[in-house]
Every structure is written in structure tokens, then in C-alpha cells.
């Protein structure tokens, strides 16, 4: 087996640094395997969060060679092993220890989004009828595994720390899944504009680039939401007709 060098960030909220480890690498291995090997053989106190090792639980998010990725889905064969590989925790969230970050802000944000409110059932037995074509769009958004890599890479959070004013791409996807649902009757447009800060997104698409579920976050969720905000707030002709029609 060949060896390769890994620089793993060790530390906590107070500070930390990259530490270098040599690891045995072989065919078919992913970065998470290496982290586990280092943990088992050299650094038993190294903290790492993981669960499924199949790219489905969204726990093992980290930054590998500076790119936000799932450790369990990053094959060593895709990395240049002649140079040290860096593994760091996500930068947009407070650090807990080593590769583990505190992502609880995300769960608080999620609670602020108005929940699903379906129309009254279509049939006496309490069920609904929907056309598959109408739900297809939101089914894409439901693939999200809440890895928060998109939140991590989004410069509004990562660089500008607007956690109080902007809910981030993950929750714009979530809001879009509810807002565009054919059964939903709730209106979230005002919150999207004000409290959720959709206007902070400058559609630079880094979230789309890192999403392991390949959700077209910017094109399919954020821009359509921006367009709905334009309908309500920035389209003078639409506003004029609404005024004539007596709707505010």
C-alpha cells in the first residue's frame, strides 16, 4: 500500500491548526476512510461526525483541499496525492472540535419558515389529487440531505456572516419546496423578501456547484423565488393591475 500525507485541522473555537499525518492509501478509498484510519492508529481523540458513509445522511461535510465536500463521497482517486491533502471543518459555522462544527443555527432557521398548509382535501376520504407534472419540481428539492455544504460555501454566510438576515441556499430550497407545492396555500413571499433575505443572494451559484445531491439550487429554487418577490414588490405594472383589481 502507498502512503499519502494528510493535513487535518485540529482545534476548537479557541483556535487550532493543520496537523500532518501519513496514512496508508489504497484503491477504492475515500477521505473518510483515511480520517478513520488516522483516528484508529494515530489520533484517537480526533473528532469527526459521520453516519452512513453513503452520501445520504449529510453528516460528514468538510472542506477538502479548500472545497466543501462530503468526506465519504470524495474518492482518493480524484485527489492529487503527491501533495498533502488538507481536510478542514466547514468555515461558515462555529467550530466544536476538529472536524465537527456546530450547525444548530440551521435548525433554528428552519423553524422560522412557515410550515406546509395544504388546501382542503379533494376527496371525502381526506386525500388529494395532484398531477405528477405539478409536483415534479418540488421533488427535486426533497432530495436534500441537509449536509449544509451549500450554506458553508455561500459567501453571504461564509464571508459576510449575514446569518441574521439571510437564511441561506438550503432554506431557500426548503422554502421553494413549500411555496411551489401544488397543494400549499401559504404565502411566504413577504418573509422571503424581508426576514429570509432572498435579495442577498447574488446568484453566483457556488451553492449549486457543491450540492452533493445535484439540486439546481440557484436556477430552480432561488431565481424562481426572486421572480415571485418581483411579482409582489418590484413589478410596477403588476402592482398597478393589482391596485385596479382592489387587491393589495
Amino acid at each position: 500500500m502507498a502512503t499519502a500525507t494528510f493535513q487535518v485541522w485540529r482545534g476548537d473555537e479557541a483556535g487550532g491548526s493543520l496537523r500532518e499525518y501519513k496514512a496508508e492509501v489504497g484503491e477504492g478509498m475515500v477521505v473518510l476512510d483515511v480520517i478513520h484510519q488516522i483516528q484508529a492508529t494515530q489520533a484517537p481523540d480526533m473528532a469527526v461526525r459521520w453516519n452512513c458513509k453513503a452520501g445520504k445522511c449529510g453528516s460528514c461535510s468538510a472542506e477538502i483541499n479548500g472545497r466543501p465536500r462530503l468526506m465519504c463521497m470524495t474518492r482518493l482517486s480524484t485527489l492529487d496525492l503527491t501533495q498533502p491533502v488538507t481536510v478542514e471543518p466547514m468555515q461558515a459555522f462555529p467550530k466544536v472540535k476538529d472536524l465537527v462544527t456546530d450547525v444548530s443555527w440551521n435548525f433554528r432557521v428552519k423553524r422560522q419558515i412557515k410550515p406546509f398548509r395544504p388546501r382542503t382535501p379533494d376527496a371525502p376520504d381526506g386525500t388529494w389529487r395532484i398531477d405528477q407534472k405539478d409536483v415534479e419540481r418540488v421533488q427535486e428539492f426533497r432530495k436534500c440531505i441537509e449536509c449544509f455544504l451549500c450554506q458553508d460555501v455561500c459567501h453571504v454566510l461564509r464571508e459576510h456572516h449575514k446569518h441574521d438576515q439571510f437564511i441561506g441556499p438550503r432554506f431557500l430550497v426548503y422554502a421553494a419546496a413549500l411555496e411551489m407545492h401544488p397543494l400549499d396555500t401559504e404565502n411566504r413571499v413577504e418573509e422571503l423578501r424581508k426576514a429570509h433575505g432572498v435579495g442577498f443572494c447574488n446568484i453566483t451559484k457556488c451553492c449549486t456547484a457543491v450540492c452533493p445531491e445535484e439540486i439546481k439550487i440557484t436556477d430552480n429554487a432561488i431565481i424562481p423565488l426572486k421572480e415571485r418577490v418581483v411579482d409582489e414588490y418590484y413589478d410596477p405594472i403588476k402592482m398597478f393591475f393589482r391596485f385596479l383589481g382592489g387587491r393589495k
Binding site: 493535513q7 485541522w9 483556535g15 487550532g16 491548526s17 493543520l18 496537523r19 500532518e20 499525518y21 472542506e63 483541499n65 479548500g66 472545497r67 466543501p68 492529487d80 501533495q83 488538507t86 478542514e88 468555515q91 398531477d131 407534472k133 405539478d134 419540481r137 460555501v153 459567501h155 453571504v156 461564509r158 464571508e159 459576510h160 456572516h161 449575514k162 411555496e179 411551489m180 407545492h181 401544488p182 400549499d184 433575505g197 435579495g199 442577498f200 443572494c201 447574488n202 446568484i203 453566483t204 451559484k205 457556488c206 456547484a209 457543491v210 439546481k216 440557484t218 436556477d219 431565481i223 424562481p224 426572486k226 421572480e227 415571485r228 418581483v230 411579482d231 418590484y234 413589478d235
Partner: protein, 280 residues
Amino acid sequence: MSQAALPLKQRGWGQTMRRDAWWVQPLAVFLGLAAFLVYANFRVFEGAHYYSGHSERNAATNYLTPFYSPLLFDVPGVRPSGHAWWSEKPALLAWLPGWVSPAALILIFPAGFRFTCYYYRGAYYKAFWADPPSCAVGEPRKGYRGENSLPLILQNVHRYFLLFAVLFLFILSYDVWHALWFKDGAGGYRFGVGLGTLILATNVVLLTGYTFGCHSMRHLMGGGRDCVTKAPLGHGFYECVSCLNRRHMLWAWLSLFSVAFSDVYVRMLAAGVWADWRIF
């Protein structure tokens, strides 16, 4: 075990742990757009060589460059092209200084359309404003307002520019129709196809792919409704727009290139440098 210090919070401009050539894409966008802007400005203020039939060598051809279409009036002093809406500069516009070419009056619409296009916005925020320079790369400025307040909130006018863009497609298609008719030298016209006809037609096809893949178009054509099956022009049309939208970036670049190339071609014909290749 060696240790390397690692910055914890905001990284400085261009700082990143990325190893790949993250600067290539923004640099390519910068160069591509800057080259187009320089060339377009040169052409708009050149105020000449916009109609191929002006040159002796290509007198039979009838190509108008997209940069000068619609042609409100012919540039004073040149032979009438037959494409102008007014035979001479209308009195209403007489106060305009001479260097304001007829192109300068109309280009505000396609320029505004592209400037406010969602794809271009994302691309030039990165390439021209480093906001961010690239994904997971440190930024030069601390403050950030995004498109949430003035001035960038004005980008939301995009859907109005879309209306004009659709109108321009009709105008440019009409120019292609003109490009199918060649002067026979006896005052009449004969149907034909030249290389210029094909270039202008390809340009319209690419511009249509770009315009109909617009995000605002997608919104208006059903995306704004919760049930896309109730789209105003039907679900099929919504799907069509969505399909073009998936490759909006590609259409944006192809059509930008084709507009510029159509102009180069017509300019070279009008200046008599190239001769049009008449296919039949």
C-alpha cells in the same frame, strides 16, 4: 508531526485553500465580456459600415448588422440603406450630437437585457467585482448588500427588458428576410442565399434560444404558478422554456459571440474588405 497555522475567520482577498485553478473561469469571463464591450463600443461610435450593400463589391447584398437594427435613420451622409425607419434623422432627434449613432439609441435594450440577465449577473459579480472572486475564495470587501437594496435591487427590471428582447427577435428575423433578397442591378430583387444570410439567420436562432431560456420567461410561462400544468401557453411550452433554461449560460455565450461575429462579417462586407459568398 508538523503544524501549519490556519486563518480562522474571514480570509483576505484571494485567500483560499483551493488547489485548483479557481481563477481561470472568472478570468475567462472577464476577458470575454471585456472584449465584447470594447468591440461593441467601437462599433456603436464608429457610425459607419453597418450595411453591406453600401460597398461596391457587395452592392447586391442586403445585410444589416444586428448592432444597428432596428435602424432608426441612416447615418447622415451615406447612401440610404433602405432599412431605415425614417429617411433622415427625425427633427425630434435633431438635438442629438453627431457622434450619437443610430445604434447608440437602440442598443440600450439588448445591453440592458444582458446586463440584468441572471446568468450574466452572477458571472460579472464574480469576474468584475470579485464578489466572490470564485467559490470559497476570500473577498476584497467587508461590506455587502447584494441585490437587497439600491443599486442592485434595480436588476429586478429584467422582465421588462425581456419584452423588448422578444420584440427585437421579430425585427432581426425581418432582417433575415431582407437578407434573402439580392439586388439584380436593374432595380429589382432576386431571391437567394449568401453566407451573410446564413450568419444572420444563425444569429437569430441563437438569440431565440437565449431569450426563450430566460429565467423571467420561465417564470411568466408557468414557473410563477404552483401548478405548471396550468401554464398560460400550456405545459409543453413551459417545458420547452425550462429545457432551454438548463443551458442558459451556453446560449448566452453562443448568442453573444454570434451577434459580434454577424457584425464583424457585415462590417467587412460594408467596408469592401471581404466579398460575400453567394450560395445561390
